[in-house]
């Protein structure tokens, strides 16, 4: 079989087969098929395939008897939604409780938040202290990037045990009492 280059018409052959074309399109496709041997042969092939479709006997009554009752189907759908709503409520309640607990803890946590005040160490200029900066070690370090963490570690390595500047009064400094922090 030689293939017709008119892909648009070939695409419409199954619709022609099933009588699914509007009047104008159907006339156009039929006119093409009348002139085109390839499309005529392809349409004949599709007709044969359609005719070969397996014929399966279906027991309609048995299927219908197995269907859920309309009320049951509605209840199933509703209960499915109800579970989703209940899960959402539980999730929100748990989340709210967690937030409330965090908020209760927060003031205490701030009072004990450790802070280290140190000088930044400029390795590029050979270890010269270039100024004071606060390095908070406690709750925010997890947000630092790798580069920031590397810089922080470098700073810590060169940090003196004695602070070179006065700590920021607004941030409680680390206090050591009886070996604990």
């Amino acid at each position: 079989m030689t293939e017709c280059p008119n892909r648009e018409i070939r695409d419409l052959l199954p619709e022609l087969l099933h009588g699914a074309l509007d009047g104008a399109t159907r006339s156009r496709v039929e006119a093409h098929v009348a002139e085109c041997v390839s499309c005529r042969e392809e349409l004949a092939l599709l007709r044969q395939v359609q005719a070969l479709a397996p014929r399966v006997r279906v027991d309609v009554a048995r299927i219908v008897s197995a269907l859920p009752a309309p009320e049951l189907a509605r209840w199933r759908a509703w209960s499915s939604h109800a579970w989703q709503i209940a899960a959402a409520v539980v999730f929100m309640a748990a989340g709210g409780t967690l937030v409330a607990r965090q908020m209760r803890r927060a003031p205490d946590a701030d009072r004990t938040r450790p802070a280290v005040v140190a000088s930044t160490y400029d390795s590029a200029v050979g270890g010269t202290a270039t100024g004071d900066v606060e390095l908070s070690v406690g709750y925010d370090y997890s947000e630092l990037t790798d580069a920031q963490l590397q810089a922080l570690l470098k700073d810590v390595e060169h940090m003196s045990a004695v602070p070179m500047a006065e700590p920021d009064a607004s941030v409680p400094a680390v206090t050591v009492t009886n070996g604990g922090v």
């Binding site: 699914a20 092939l45 070969l52 479709a53 397996p54 399966v56 309609v60 299927i63 859920p68």
Partner: protein, 184 residues
């Protein structure tokens, strides 16, 4: 659906669904009569031979239990094909697990059986059956839905989980493969 039943009730699927929801059991009978044969044909065309009745029944039970989720973006029949295909794949996955098969590939889900064996009669029909057996599972699904069921590329894409463009390519490749086989 038989023509006799269709002629008795030309209500659309959505009207019948509403009627069934309102308690009209006859509406369910009409819907099943209208679509079950096509679902069964599709299932058989996909190579399923055993428990076709159960699969078709499960398709309708699943569909009627979830009609609230039917958005009517596509036709009811397309939706039923989608459910049937999903059940078919699930069943085959379960069968494979039972056979201790580790690899599960959806592309291989439709078995490589002759889609028309046992139905063909003459030489031409036998040759067409052999040609269709050479199609890939996806090509056969697309070709069957297009030629036997008359679905649009958009609906086919919804059923088999692909794009309209890909469905079009599968269809034309299938036609090409069948023609080449018959020309040999």
């Amino acid at each position: 659906m038989t023509d006799a039943i269709r002629s008795r009730d030309e209500r659309g699927d959505l009207e019948l669904i509403d009627a069934w929801r309102a308690g009209d059991e006859r509406a369910a009978t009409l819907l099943v009569s209208r679509h079950a044969p096509a679902v069964a044909r599709f299932v058989v065309s996909c190579g399923e031979r055993e428990e076709v009745d159960e699969l078709v029944q499960d398709t309708f039970v699943r569909a009627f239990g979830a009609l609230d989720g039917f958005r009517a973006d596509s036709s009811l029949r397309t939706w039923l094909f989608t459910i049937a295909r999903r059940l078919l794949l699930d069943r085959r996955r379960a069968d494979r697990r039972r056979r201790d098969r580790v690899q599960i590939d959806e592309a291989d889900a439709v078995t490589e059986v002759d889609a028309l064996d046992g139905v063909v009669a003459g030489e031409t029909e036998r040759r067409i059956g052999q040609a269709m057996a050479r199609l890939s599972p996806k090509q056969r699904e697309v070709f069957t839905l297009r030629v036997t069921e008359g679905l649009t590329y958009k609906d086919i894409a919804d059923v088999v989980g692909t794009t309209e463009g890909a469905a079009r390519v599968h269809y034309h490749n299938a036609v090409q493969t069948i023609k080449e086989f018959l020309d040999d």
